[in-house]
Symmetry: C2
Subunit: 245 residues, 2 copies
DNA sequence: ACGGATTATTGATATAGATCAATAATCCAT
DNA sequence: ATGGATTATTGATCTATATCAATAATCCGT
């Protein structure tokens, strides 16, 4: 991990357009509170239970946020992508409630709670962006709750695959997320064997193409039918589905 | 449901202390955007898929937020209590992603997105409160993800019971939440029969006292052991637990 | 207080997905 | 390229929890 000077650009707290209404002094004040850091794949920004001294704004790359049971069972709570905030759950709490681990090369800005508080109080445009980011993260979390609480294994997997599309990349090309079978399982509350079986079945039926490291959607319509709820209208009921749970 | 004039008090957007730094004009401006409404138990504030015109700040009472599959399977995403915001997930989206239904008599203030945006931009104290509320809701959502994704039925039930304590009321008295067995099941991704069996078992072992409509914690320490993760240190690993998933 | 309706309990059985196990594919360092 | 390590696939079996079913308890309106 290397610390470097902050080229203010493209993160929630430091996007160019936010500077429009600010004086030079304000911009400098903002910058000096941001510490830009680089992480390699598999490196942790922080671990579950660590004292929560900073929070992070993710500028480049992808992270997985995980929580573990003492016996080793692990749950991925969320995949974080550029633009999102990390650890704001600790705005009042003293410890990080999850581990944040880089999936790719990552650039993140870190900032203390007090500094963020000051920035928010002095910059309404930033606080609005923080609120938008947080509400999107809440929406993401609630989608995962739906998947975990009431879906079968095939429904979970199709929901997962469809949820990758908004992460960017050509919708008909390979999806831009490299998770192992084990990690997909840890996200969906399944085992890696079950994920493997379901994906093999989907591949046999030509719904997806998949190999280690890539997934491609071949038949989005049928995946949406299996999923039962349209991923993007998040919960807006559309059609009947045969499933018993 | 009855609409009435807004006696500004005790909700996220209108708590007294927020007025400290505001002029008379600002207070009036804030008030005129808030529409205070009353709801009875079982009444819906809005339904999944409805156009999201307003968001809500809950002043009194409890709500359940639910999402359904077309075949009727239902998931409780979150129990909302006084002070929380509802529907801010739709800050950008056009439709409510869940149904909000009163569990008790409820008082809520509703406000349009645009009005909220204006209030946030003109009042940093309020935006800070909104951010704190949202980050707490995100924390709640992530706890439920943990419960759903990696816990067994007894672990889920003990986590649920322990999570009721912060909702207030005497910790050694009856817990202040009346959910049916079916609703507890819809929250934990179980069936009502399984919830009933687990709770009967806990009662036999003197861990809880329960009947229709009330739950009382009798042996918090053992419940925490079964739960595996301390509810309040949310994920801070503490002791080994025997569980296979 | 009564009776129908709702909700909870308890028991018997079925099953989706976990676990255990072996093999196959792919990665990566030398 | 080669070989050991990691990750994915596939098969056989097991089990936690769902499903099906029958009471039992409690609620609520008259």
């Amino acid at each position: 991990m290397a610390t470097c000077s902050c080229e203010v650009k493209a993160c929630v707290l430091c996007e160019d357009r936010l500077y429009a209404g600010l004086s030079k002094e304000q911009i400098c004040q903002l910058r000096e509170h941001l510490i830009r850091e680089l992480y390699e794949p598999r490196e942790a920004l922080f671990r579950e239970g660590d004292p929560a001294t900073y929070l992070f704004a993710l500028r480049h790359g992808q992270l997985k946020l995980t929580s573990s049971m003492p016996d080793g069972r692990q749950q991925i709570l969320r995949i974080a992508v550029a633009g999102q905030l990390l650890g704001i759950e600790t705005f009042k709490g003293p410890r990080y409630p999850f581990t944040a681990e880089a999936l790719t090369d990552v650039v993140a800005c870190k900032i203390s709670h007090d500094d963020l508080r000051n920035i928010i109080e002095s910059n309404p445009a930033i606080s609005l962006r923080v609120i938008e980011t947080l509400s999107h993260e809440l929406d993401q979390a609630e989608s995962l709750i739906r998947d975990l609480g009431l879906k079968t294994a095939p429904e979970k997997v199709s929901s997962f695959v469809l949820s990758l599309v908004p992460l960017g990349g050509d919708p008909n090309g390979d999806l831009p997320l490299r998770l192992s079978r084990r990690e997909i399982a840890e996200m969906l509350g399944l085992t890696e064997e079950t994920v493997s079986r379901v994906m093999a079945d989907f591949a046999r039926k030509k719904l997806i193409g998949s190999g280690r490291g890539f997934i491609r959607i071949l038949d989005r319509k049928r995946l949406e039918e299996i999923n039962g709820i349209d991923v993007n209208t998040a919960g807006h009921p559309r059609r009947a589905v045969s499933a018993k749970r």
